[in-house]
């Protein structure tokens, strides 16, 4: 493993601690709580606990639709796929072996259900076709032009969001802007940002469910997050 974070965990973490809103410790707590809850949830589901099943649907339904949309043409068909996948989940719960997380298992059922639809509803655009066109994270005009002094450095700084009032970023209006922007993303970018940043999946889980490489996963996530940041910036500066 060549990643700097693995070799020197503190390196990747200290800036995050300083500027981040979610520290690595909080992320760890979130994932361990999820794992503990999941074991408990599975037992309750197998015992026929309706509340547990309702919670399961409420937790994963949105992500399932986002995953299905990558494979079928319309949102309406994606909703049908999610519904069909739930029926398969209900039937398969007793057979589920805890080799993967419950969520990974459910999302793979969605992928298989969507692919199984085949024919006119299926799409054939592979994930690997990320597009050759450059999609810079930030408008190149925001940087000083090549050849001059300080080429590639900011022309004008981005905003200092830490100076905004607490509710500016977390208010309903801002969340609506974020939701609209994610909705408008290309399907492949939408599914990756939905899985990573909304559902809280790991990079490995995304690659596993969608059968894409780590590199492709990061390119899609990077493009999606960069567009979302830009949309939030327009909204907050506007």
């Amino acid at each position: 493993m060549t990643s700097a974070a693995a070799a020197h965990p503190w390196r990747a973490l200290d800036i995050r601690d300083r500027v981040g809103t979610l520290t690595p410790v909080e992320e760890d707590q979130r994932s361990s709580v999820t794992v503990a809850k999941e074991g408990d949830l599975l037992e309750r589901l197998r015992a026929g606990d309706e509340g547990a099943f309702r919670a399961l649907v409420e937790t994963h339904h949105g992500t399932m639709i986002a995953v299905a949309r990558r494979y079928v043409r319309t949102r309406a068909v994606a909703e049908e796929v999610a519904q069909e996948a739930w029926l398969a989940v209900i039937k398969g719960l007793d057979r589920f072996e805890v080799r993967s997380s419950l969520r990974t298992w459910i999302l793979k059922i969605v992928v298989n259900t969507a692919i199984g639809r085949g024919g006119r509803e299926a799409r054939s655009v592979p994930f690997s076709s990320l597009g050759d066109e450059a999609e810079p994270a930030v408008d190149p005009d925001r940087f000083r032009p090549p050849g001059g002094a300080f080429a590639g450095h900011w022309n004008g700084y981005p905003g200092d969001w830490s100076s905004l009032p607490e509710d500016a970023l977390l208010g309903r209006e801002t969340l609506d802007v974020a939701k609209r922007e994610i909705e408008e993303l290309p399907d492949a970018q939408r599914v990756v940002i939905t899985m990573r940043d909304i559902a809280g999946c790991s990079a490995e889980e995304v690659c596993d469910v969608l059968d894409i490489s780590g590199g492709n996963q990061r390119v899609l996530l990077h493009r999606a997050r960069s567009k979302l940041r830009a949309a939030l910036e327009r909204h907050l500066n506007g």
């Binding site: 700097a4 974070a5 390196r11 209900i90 590639g152 450095h153 700084y157």
Partner: protein, 83 residues
């Protein structure tokens, strides 16, 4: 990296942020990025914006599922466990 470099530009940094936050940069690339952020207020703010953008995503988790979706599933779930 093809050759050893002693700095990156802001324009290069914004393209590395996702890899950085995922711990996917090499040790050398990580050092260059962090050195840059320590001296560049604009990129410090940019990194902060990205962290807050990610945090915004986690607030979009929807828990409401329409009854017309949920009810038939609950019925099926109950049927399955009655037998």
């Amino acid at each position: 990296m093809a050759e050893s470099r002693d700095h990156i530009t802001c324009q290069e940094l914004v393209e590395q942020v996702t890899d950085y936050l995922d711990g996917a940069l090499s040790i050398e690339e990580t050092e260059l990025l962090e050195q840059h952020v320590n001296f560049c207020e604009g990129c410090d703010w940019y990194l902060d914006e990205m962290r807050r953008t990610i945090a915004t995503g986690s607030r979009l988790r929807e828990v409401h599922v329409p009854d017309k979706v949920l009810e038939p599933l609950l019925t099926e779930f109950k049927e399955r466990h009655r037998s």
